[in-house]
Every structure is written in structure tokens, then in C-alpha cells.
């Protein structure tokens, strides 16, 4: 392990370019003779479209074209795909509406695209978009998750006769309820997992150009890897051969789950470029991204747990309502089952489990994957239950967890929904967090705060993740004549530092200089055929293992060539540190790479070149886990809350680059802090989005956090040879329950028994006031 190998805190290759203004985000790309798109969006959450008049818009200065939903139908544009398939226990299949790129006769959420204008300048396109006249017959709308399944709720899709997508169930409800009733102690939590706006800093945008001579289309867009977008756009929407559609993401300003999806605007920009045979560009406003980017979370969970007198939980019932929005996005409906379902009941061994999920349609933009994608919700349920159980039984919060953890002896541990947790030291990880946070001496600090009139609390969360989903990914490695090595990946780094980490791996496995390794990603013209992209904390495993497999194949080939050059048998050749040796003679990898290009220098019958293309395929995911401790102080006069100390201990297996993984932890924690403290999507009763800008939506700022202390408890994964577990989403799983646990601790002495996210000063203040009124009465 050298200075640039596995485990080293290597500084990033990506940084100098991004720090000097050299980034190439989609809006930075300008195509020769480009024209601009603007969209007309629905102002209503539910309305029949009775007429669209584009005449005035078409006659305005600079306007080249105006398209409506009907124009796209007439042009043969396909519909958005969704391959989710769930069935009610009655055997009735799920309700599955199709989504057109633009609707023709009815709009179902505020912000839905209803027409597109193409003009010479962005300002002309916007002006003309305002001149498109649409007549609506406004219908009653429903946005609320709590009331979406009410009998009198308006139906988003009247043809289904209900807003319920499907009632999905796991386990034996009657048996679990009987066991709950028979439990020594039974605790219940009613939780709102608040809807969030994912909000990567680069607004959604697209630019496309079409070469009529070759019939090929190139689309620039922020993404999390282009292959899946290419397939959707080509096959489902534009009806083109995939090889004629190229997706390029040079730089992408954050993803967090929502960038791995095809959006109507991207498809329409591509459509217009093809229809007009002119480059077309669009950069979304922030308010457009607020109304039309997929949102995250939005669940209501009612959960009950039954414990014995010793605090051992043996029975669990979880009922989840999920707001999927007006349509089915690619993954939204799956999240409780295939996201959170991988792990629930999380780090705890609870043998009896009933799980009910009711996804529902509402007149809102769809929800989909957001950092953690179902796992933060599952962990939040379990952690709130454990805190409730501790309180009910008079146990400490760490002790009740200790009594219920899945132990290392129980691993590999099969989860209820059929996944297998291979490794993890949950008790040891929790203990590290408690020690680092000085948990045992907290009461002195509470007293010190109390002397100043402040309420201090400390909170704990333990959590587990399922990372590395769809574990199949290609990787290509090419040796350049100047001695450089180029990696072509289908994973796509949009902030994670893959160019750095993959180069560390090439350095580790092949001894190639770190500076001589270059990564090319974000381009379907060069990425491996088999590719899913970057999401679900998968790239360390699938990309890292791809580099390892390719390196192994290269070494095997290289030994044969080296043996040929050294006039010995391949079995006698040893490869180490970039050098092939056979007794006293040796030849470097670079020399072998050079020789491999010359048929005279390689064994007869061997193909030229050292380059390799591999597909890594794994049967299983990996299970990163951790423990967070949060200490905070509340001003009871104002409800203001200040986080004073934050410890995050992660078991993300073998750490490839601690400098980068710490960054993932810090970022994930702050997104969790945002959910817990400041972020909340608010639709009014008519389905208008009230939190539609950074002035109304509480993005966490630098002042919301102190420095986080991030530590590792390394338990290598047993299911991949690198021993890695994905690190990207853990922070967002651990932070909300740790913060809620701390607030619960600070307020419980006042008699506050329940509070929901986000913990705005107003909410905290009200909870304190209501508790003191109850006490006084």
C-alpha cells in the first residue's frame, strides 16, 4: 500500500479544474446556432384542458415552434416507462396509469409541462410561453398524504375509483396483532416522514443536437450515468435505435437520486432538436426544478412494537402510507418495499413482523429516490420505536438497543424480505459513538445548560443501509501509447471523486502512477455496454470491483507476454508493484503494454493489446451501518435549537479513501439535519406548492452545524473482495433519528411526548407551550 493506494487520504484529481472555473456543466455547453426552449406549466393541480391556443405565441418575435401534448402524440412520441409490479393480496394488480411526456386533456399537478416554445433567445422563448393560452376546467385536487385515501378525497385517476396504488403486505397481520396484544409492553409511534425537495445545486437542464445526415442525436444533461437514460429516451420515447442516441454528462452538479431518471423536459428538448434539426437548449429555473424535479420521502408511518419485561422486542407492526404523486415515477412506489424493505427491522432481531404499505396518488409531482431511498424512513421508524420502548420500560436508550441488536454470531442474517446481512458490529459501533460523544458524562453538561435557562439533550441512533443495488456494471481499461491508462466507466461521478478513487485502485493493483490514470465517464459513446450508473451507494463496490477484475485479467495476460519476453513459463512470472519478475530478470508493465502491441513480441495466437473490458456481477448488496450521537441545546423562550456536538461512526467496510468518505458522511448528515430541522415541502389544500423557492424552503446552511466528528469501525464486507460497503447514504439515515432522540431527551422532562420533523423553532416552541399548559392544568 503506497502513498496513493487503498486507504490513503489522496487529494482529488477533479478539484483543480472545478476550482478554477473549468467545470463543464450542461448550461456551460453552447452548441453552434442553438435555440432555446421554455415550458408552459400547469397552474392547477387538477384540471381538464379544454383548449390550447398557441397562435399568438407562434407569431411572436423569434419563435420557431410551439408544441403541445397532442403534437407529441401525433409525432409518435412514446410514454414514460414504469416496470413496477405489485399485487394486492386479493390478487388484484396495482393501478398503473401511463404518463405522457405532456398530457393532452388533463393536468394532474402544478408545474406539469403543457406546452413547449422554441425561440431564438431564452427571453423570446419565455415571453412566448406566457402568450400560450390554455383554457381549464378546474377540478378538486388532493395533495395531502394524511387525507389522500379518505373516502371523500378527489380521485387523481377516476378510472381506478380510488387513489390507492396497491395495498402491499408482508407477514401475518392477525398473528402479529395477537402477539402485540399478548406483549408485556407495547409501544406505538405515529410518524410523519416529511416530503423533501432534493435540490442538487445545478438546476435541471438539457441541450440536444441532431445530425440529420446520420440520424444521430446527442443529448447533454446532468445525470447519474447515461446508459439507462439512453435506453429510455431511445426505445420508449423517441423510438430510435439506442446506438443513435448519445447521452453526455460532462459535469453534474449533484444528484442524490433524482438524476438517474428521465424527465419530460429532457425528452422534449431532444424531440425538438430532432424535429427542427437544430440544437436546442434549456436551463430550468430553480422554481421550475422545485415544482417538477421528483421529490423525496413523504411517508406516514404508524408502527407498534411488543417487548418483554427485559426489553427484548419480538413483534413489530408497521403501516406505511406513501405519497407517490400524480403518476408512477421510475422508483417512487418501490421505496418502502425494495428500499427500506431490504433492511427493516434494521439492526434489530425481531422475529414477528407485519408490514403494510399503501402508496397513493395525489395531485403533486411524483416522489422518487432521494439519498437513502426508503432506508432513512425504515431506520427512523425503528429508532423512534426503540426510544419509545426505552422510555416505557425505564431502560437507557443504549441498553434497549444492545438487547435487540442482531449479533455478529447471527450473521449471515437473513432479513424478513429476503436479504442477507453479511457483517457488522452494531454494539461495538454504538459503543464507539457513545465514547466519542462522552455520553456517560452528559448529565453534568445538561445541568450546566439548565443553569443558563437552556434545555440540553443528547440523542442516539443506530442504523443500517442496503447499498450497491443492481450489482452489475461494466468497466473498460485501455493502455495508451504514452504510458497512461484510461478507464472507461458506466458509473458516473457527480461529486463522489471516482477519478481519484479508481486511480488509487489502478495504482494499488497494477502499480501504475496515480497521475497516469485517467477516468472517462458520463458518455454513452465510450462507457461499457453493461451499465446502470451511480446510485444507491454502489460505485465503490461495482466500479471498484470492475477495476479489480480488469486488473486481474491484465495481469494474467501480462504474465504470458512477460514470460515470452523473458523466455520463461508464465507460471514462473510474478507480478508485483508494476513489475513482472522471473528470478533475476524483470520487465515493467509499461514495457509489457508496449510489447503487447507488436505481434512479434507476444506469444503466438495471442490477441494484440493489454486492454480489458469486464463486467462485474455480484449476487448481493452490502450493508453499511453506523451509530450517530447528537447533542443539542434548546432555548425554551424561542424554540431555537443549536446542535453542539455531533459524532458519526460508520462501518462502511474497507475505506478506499477516508478523505472522500468523510465528505460523504458530512454531506449525508447535513441532508439528514435538513430533514430534521428545516426542510419541508408544503402544498396547500388546492395542491399549490407553497415552498417553491429557496426563500420558502429551508435549505440547511453552514450555521446549522458544528464540526462533525466522523469515525470508522471497519468491518470488511464478506460479499465483495474489496470489503467495501457503500458510504454515500448512511449520513442521511442516521441523522434524523439521532436529532429527534436528542430533542426528545431535552423536552421529555417537560412532558412533551411527541413531535414531528421538521423541528422548526415554531414547532419546538409550540410543543413546549402545549406541554406547560397541560402541566399547569
Amino acid at each position: 500500500m503506497g502513498e496513493f493506494g487503498i486507504g490513503q487520504p489522496v487529494r482529488r484529481k477533479e478539484d483543480v479544474r472545478l476550482l478554477t472555473g473549468g467545470g463543464e456543466f450542461t448550461d456551460d455547453i453552447n452548441l453552434e446556432a442553438q435555440v432555446y426552449a421554455a415550458f408552459v406549466r400547469s397552474p392547477h393541480a387538477n384540471a381538464k384542458i379544454t383548449a390550447i391556443d398557441t397562435l399568438a405565441a407562434r407569431s411572436m418575435d423569434g419563435v420557431i415552434a410551439v408544441y403541445t401534448g397532442q403534437d407529441l402524440v401525433d409525432a409518435g412520441m412514446g410514454v414514460m416507462i414504469n416496470d413496477a409490479s405489485y399485487t394486492n393480496r386479493s390478487g388484484k394488480p396495482m393501478n398503473k396509469p401511463s404518463r405522457r411526456i405532456m398530457p393532452v386533456d388533463q393536468t394532474r399537478f402544478v408545474g406539469e409541462c403543457l406546452a413547449m416554445v422554441i425561440a431564438d433567445t431564452p427571453a423570446q422563448a419565455r415571453d412566448a410561453a406566457e402568450a400560450v393560452e390554455i383554457d381549464y376546467d378546474v377540478l378538486p385536487a388532493i395533495a395531502s398524504t394524511a387525507h389522500g385515501l379518505d373516502k371523500d378525497a378527489p380521485h387523481v385517476w377516476p378510472e381506478f375509483g380510488e387513489n390507492l396504488v396497491v395495498h402491499w403486505e408482508y407477514g401475518d397481520q392477525a398473528d402479529v396483532e395477537a402477539k402485540l396484544a399478548a406483549s408485556h409492553t407495547r409501544v406505538r409511534v405515529d410518524l410523519v416522514n416529511n416530503r423533501l425537495i432534493v435540490s442538487p445545486m445545478e438546476p435541471r437542464s438539457a441541450a440536444a443536437e441532431y445530425d440529420a445526415a446520420t440520424g444521430s442525436l446527442t443529448v447533454y444533461t446532468p445525470s447519474q450515468g447515461g446508459r439507462r437514460l439512453q435506453m429510455t429516451l431511445a426505445r420508449a420515447l423517441l423510438k430510435m435505435a439506442p446506438e443513435k442516441v448519445r447521452i453526455i454528462s460532462r459535469d453534474t452538479g449533484g444528484g442524490f437520486g433524482i438524476r438517474s431518471k428521465m424527465y419530460p423536459e429532457t425528452a422534449m428538448v431532444a424531440f425538438a432538436a430532432r424535429a427542427l434539426a437544430r440544437p436546442v437548449k434549456w436551463r430550468g429555473d430553480r422554481s421550475e426544478t422545485f415544482v417538477s424535479d421528483y421529490h423525496g420521502r413523504d411517508q406516514i408511518n404508524i408502527a407498534e412494537m411488543g417487548l418483554d419485561a427485559n426489553g427484548r422486542a419480538s413483534v413489530l407492526k408497521v403501516e406505511t402510507l406513501l405519497n407517490v404523486g400524480a403518476y408512477l415515477s421510475e422508483n417512487g412506489v418501490r421505496l418502502p418495499m425494495e428500499g427500506g424493505g431490504r433492511i427493516i427491522p434494521c439492526v434489530y432481531d425481531i422475529p414477528n413482523f407485519y408490514f403494510s404499505v399503501k402508496p397513493m396518488f395525489t395531485n403533486t409531482i411524483c416522489t422518487d429516490t432521494y439519498r437513502g431511498a426508503g432506508r432513512p424512513e425504515a431506520n427512523y421508524i425503528m429508532e423512534r420505536l426503540m426510544d419509545a420502548g426505552a422510555k416505557a420500560l425505564g431502560l437507557s436508550r443504549e441498553e434497549i438497543r444492545r438487547r435487540n441488536f442482531i449479533t455478529q454470531e447471527q450473521m449471515p442474517y437473513k432479513t424478513h424480505l429476503g436479504f442477507t446481512i453479511d457483517s457488522g458490529d452494531f454494539d461495538g459501533t454504538m459503543q464507539m459513538a457513545l465514547d466519542a460523544a462522552k455520553w456517560d458524562s452528559f448529565e453534568a453538561r445538561r445541568a450546566e445548560s439548565a443553569a443558563r435557562g437552556k434545555l440540553r439533550g443528547i440523542g442516539l441512533s443506530t442504523f443500517i443501509e442496503g447499498a450497491g443495488s443492481r450489482p452489475v456494471e461494466g468497466m473498460r481499461m485501455r493502455f495508451e501509447e504514452d504510458g497512461h491508462v484510461t478507464l472507461f466507466a458506466g458509473t458516473y461521478s457527480h461529486g463522489q471523486g471516482h477519478a481519484t478513487v479508481y486511480a488509487q485502485l489502478v495504482n494499488e493493483f497494477l502499480g501504475v502512477d496515480f497521475d497516469k490514470v485517467k477516468l472517462i465517464d458520463g458518455d454513452t459513446a465510450t462507457s461499457p455496454e453493461t451499465s446502470n450508473g451511480t446510485f444507491g451507494s454502489r460505485s465503490s463496490m461495482v466500479g471498484g470491483m470492475g477495476v479489480k477484475r480488469a486488473s486481474e485479467a491484465i495481469i494474467a495476460k501480462g504474465r504470458k507476454i512477460a514470460a515470452h519476453l523473458l523466455q520463461t513459463d508464465a507460471e514462473r512470472v510474478v507480478f508485483e508493484g508494476g513489475v513482472f519478475r522471473a528470478q533475476s530478470s524483470s520487465v515493467t508493465l509499461a514495457e509489457v503494454a508496449a510489447a503487447s502491441r507488436d505481434a512479434k513480441k507476444i506469444p503466438e495466437g495471442m490477441a494484440l493489446g493489454l486492454d480489458e473490458s469486464v463486467v462485474f456481477e455480484n449476487d448481493v448488496e452490502n450493508f453499511p451501518n453506523g451509530a450517530h450521537v447528537c447533542e443539542l441545546e434548546i432555548d425554551p423562550e424561542t424554540g431555537m435549537l443549536e446542535i453542539l456536538n455531533y459524532v458519526a461512526v460508520d462501518d462502511c467496510g474497507v475505506v478506499l479513501n477516508p478523505f472522500i468518505v468523510h465528505g460523504q458522511v458530512y454531506g449525508g448528515v447535513l441532508q439528514g439535519v435538513g430533514q430534521a430541522l428545516t426542510e419541508n415541502v408544503v402544498y396547500d389544500a388546492d395542491g399549490q406548492l407553497l415552498s417553491a423557492s429557496y426563500m420558502d424552503y429551508g435549505m440547511p446552511r453552514a450555521a446549522h452545524m458544528p464540526m462533525i466528528e466522523a469515525l470508522f469501525n471497519v468491518v470488511p464486507a464478506k460479499t465483495n473482495e474489496l470489503g467495501v460497503k457503500g458510504a454515500g447514504e448512511a449520513g442521511a439515515c442516521g441523522a434524523p433519528p439521532a436529532i429527534l432522540s436528542a430533542v426528545g431527551d431535552a423536552l421529555s422532562r417537560l412532558g412533551v411526548s411527541h413531535i414531528d420533523m421538521p423541528l422548526t423553532p415554531e414547532r419546538v416552541w409550540r410543543a413546549i407551550q402545549e406541554a406547560s399548559i397541560v402541566k399547569a392544568a
Binding site: 478539484d15 445545486m201 445545478e202 458544528p706
Partner: protein
């Protein structure tokens, strides 16, 4: 009606004809094609577009190009030395992992330089509050705050 503007950008005299409504950030990005300065919102909240106007941090989406007439503008492209040596703030962002996706980064770096200029030796709490107008979604701000404090010390030492 187009209006003539002249200003200095990264030490070079530039001029152009703009519509009265053209924002400084549009002039920088679309007329000068200096795309390091980013647009991240419509409401002057995110800070991705921060540049220096006569040495002071300014959100370039909040200023018309005509208001910058005659002024000296520095963008992220003009911060490093001519030989490519990074400014201490850029170097510190690299050393402290103050960036991930890199989209908010130009604004953060330009704001960081401004904080270091105005408040040499500012403590962590002050730096965090000074960043109220800059949003980052990736880093949790930790590396950014560390970088600004570190570079501030380096810049301070260079001044004395």
C-alpha cells in the same frame, strides 16, 4: 434598445452591447463565455454566482450588467496566478475537501476570499454565519469552513 457597457474582467478590458435587463451574470456567462460563474437559483439565495466587484463579493444575479459599467470584476477564472498557481483559497478548498460536485464552488471560493479579506482571523462560528448566503448540498459545509479558516490564516500571514 442595446446599451454599451465597458468594464474590466479579470484584469482585461471588455465591452459589449446589452439589453437593459441583462444581468451581470448573463453578461459574464453568455457574452464573455466565462462559465465558471454559475446560476443556481432565481432569488439571490444560493450564492453560486458570487464574483468580486471592485474587490467586494457580489451576487452577479442581483446586479445589472449596466450597473457594473466602469467597474473591475474578478470571477473564479481570474483568481489563480497567471502561471496556474492556485490562490490560497482554492488550494485550501482542495486540501480540506471543500467541494464535491463543484457547482456551488466558484461562488463559495469567491465568498471565502471576501470573508478572509474583511474578517481576517474570523472564528468558526463567524465563518459559518458569513456563509448564510451560499448554499452547498454536497459537503455539509465542513470542508468549506475549514478551508476558509485555513486560507484566511495563509492570506493573513502573506499580508503581514
Amino acid at each position: 434598445m442595446d446599451i454599451d457597457v465597458k468594464m474590466t474582467v479579470n484584469g482585461k478590458a471588455v465591452s459589449g452591447k446589452v439589453e437593459a435587463r441583462t444581468l451581470l451574470v448573463q453578461f459574464i456567462r453568455e457574452h464573455l463565455r466565462l462559465t465558471g460563474t454559475h446560476v443556481g437559483c432565481d432569488t439571490t439565495q444560493c450564492g453560486c454566482c458570487v464574483v468580486h466587484v471592485d474587490g467586494v463579493a457580489m451576487k452577479s444575479c442581483t446586479m445589472l450588467a449596466v450597473q457594473a459599467d466602469g467597474k473591475a470584476i474578478t470571477t473564479i477564472e481570474g483568481l489563480a496566478a497567471a502561471d496556474g498557481t492556485l490562490h490560497p483559497m482554492q488550494q485550501a478548498f482542495r486540501d480540506h475537501h471543500g467541494l464535491q460536485c463543484g457547482f456551488c464552488t466558484p461562488g463559495m471560493v469567491m465568498m471565502g476570499v471576501d470573508i478572509a479579506n474583511r474578517l481576517p482571523g474570523a472564528d468558526e462560528k463567524t465563518v459559518r454565519h458569513q456563509l448564510e448566503g451560499n448554499i452547498c448540498r454536497c459537503t455539509g459545509y465542513q470542508g468549506i469552513v475549514e478551508a476558509i479558516m485555513d486560507a484566511s490564516a495563509v492570506m493573513n500571514a502573506a499580508r503581514s
